[in-house]
Symmetry: C2
């Protein structure tokens, strides 16, 4: 691709609108286009000015795009690929911001025309909030972004996308979709499962006495259930494995507590504390946190 | 008690020093005294001026106190009660800021002189930080504080303590030590177990890719392992029960994920999201969060 002229984002929630807003912030001359299947979201997106142009027709929205980014729930991707496929121009890069990557790669291979290039993207940014109103032009500042590729991925498209996400403020790394789904299953999807299970096991009357600890530990469970159901659905094997591993550690802690083995309890808690201290050290060194 | 003249805090970590600092902020004329068994902590406490006087001798520190507050790890309480008992004046109120209450009540009954009054206190405030340097005079602003009493507790001492914690900014409620330990087991100790188990089950190399979600979910696991080992040790039955309940919910989620039953996954995640939304509503109504 000689010069990036237009980026189209499909799905104008927190992530999608943050992509177009950040491109605009850069004043790079790249045109931003947006589409949402909801008329109400399109209306609000226009009012908020999150993109240069908001299309009512998904095919028209992608016709002139150099990069098309899907920012809708993962399980819509296959149908969207089918819908936009015929409208894409030759050499167009199709990507997405979904939290699992193996199935999107598979669907793209199956349904997109051969003359466009699919590459997976996963900017690790966001919050438990949703909706175009929460779009921000600094959401990607310093965020990690994983680009996924397999043996059939066009490497020049990978380079273009790396440059693109870097220009939005991301620290970009590359891996296979398999590796991505395994890692994210453990560091993102599993915490969501734990937060949800903890809430489901709890009694609202008792929770009224909770402090900041519970609120923080459970925060991600406020994320949209439909988005997360798609993530669990498309990364089920890794999530099940992660749940098993955590249950094993919970049982260890339970055994130590049951036996009132203070030395063993403290050892297990110290092991966790120590690991998190090393994690914080790393994150500070990468300026991800202060 | 006619007039509160002196409060002595034993243990000058984050919580202990925050108690004396908050009393001083109120300019109520109440003298604050502190003791730590570590010379280095006493030196730093004097330098930081966290109390009117820092004693080198624990018995002398409590001799003139109207209220004595233990702010050391729970499993030290029994010995401390034995040590300070003979030095306490008649009618003195002894309390603590420990996170479990059943055993402290039992130890107090067994070891404190009959002419002093033990009442349990649990101000639900703090953070994963530790040490006298982190003491703050606003730590208790708006925090819940649970006062625990059983059939033998002196009710006038309960009233004095309620007034005391309220003057520090707490919203005070009362319950039995049994009820306290059950509730806190679920809303505070259980999240700690989950955070620690999640970290122990995880791979530091993978964690480097984690986002804000994992950091928040795991935050409390950075708390001091010795303090938390005492909590697990003294509330083991409730914690074990809470772990069992959460494992049950994790298995439900796992089953739904394994079967790729998207409707069931979404139902479970939505149930958690909804419960947290109601919790947030409550916390906002009580001005605990904004």
């Amino acid at each position: 691709m000689k010069k990036l002229r237009q980026v189209t984002v499909i799905g104008l929630g927190l992530l999608g609108s943050s992509v177009t807003l950040t491109i605009s912030r850069n004043s790079s001359g790249v045109k931003t286009a947006g589409y949402s299947h909801r008329a109400e979201t399109r209306r609000r997106a226009r009012r908020l000015g999150v993109a240069d142009v908001i299309f009512d027709d998904i095919r028209r929205s992608v016709a002139d795009a150099d990069i098309v980014i899907l920012a809708t729930p993962i399980c819509t991707f296959e149908d969207t690929f089918k819908t936009i496929g015929p409208a894409l121009k030759k050499g167009c890069i199709v990507t997405d911001v979904g939290s699992t990557k193996l199935l999107p790669h598979k669907w793209a291979k199956k349904t997109l025309p051969k003359y466009v290039n699919y590459v997976g993207s996963h900017p690790i940014a966001g919050s438990e909030q949703r909706g175009v109103e929460f779009g921000r032009d600094d959401l990607f500042d310093g965020a990690a972004c994983i680009i996924t590729k397999d043996i059939s991925t066009n490497l020049s498209a990978v380079q273009t996308l790396k440059k693109f996400w870097s220009s939005l403020g991301c620290r970009v790394s590359e891996m296979s979709p398999q590796q991505h789904d395994e890692i994210l299953g453990n560091v993102s999807h599993l915490p969501h499962a734990l937060a949800a299970a903890m809430l489901n096991a709890s009694d609202l009357k008792q929770l009224k006495f909770c402090g900041k600890g519970f609120m923080d530990t459970s925060r991600i469970a406020s994320g949209p259930a439909n988005i997360w159901a798609d993530i669990f659905h498309t990364n089920s094997a890794n999530i099940c494995k992660g749940i098993d591993g955590t249950i094993k550690e919970l049982v260890k802690l339970k055994k130590a507590a049951k036996l009132k083995n203070k030395r063993q309890i403290e050892k297990l808690l110290e092991q966790a504390r120590e690991k998190r201290a090393r994690l914080i050290e790393y994150k500070v060194s990468k300026k991800e946190i202060q």
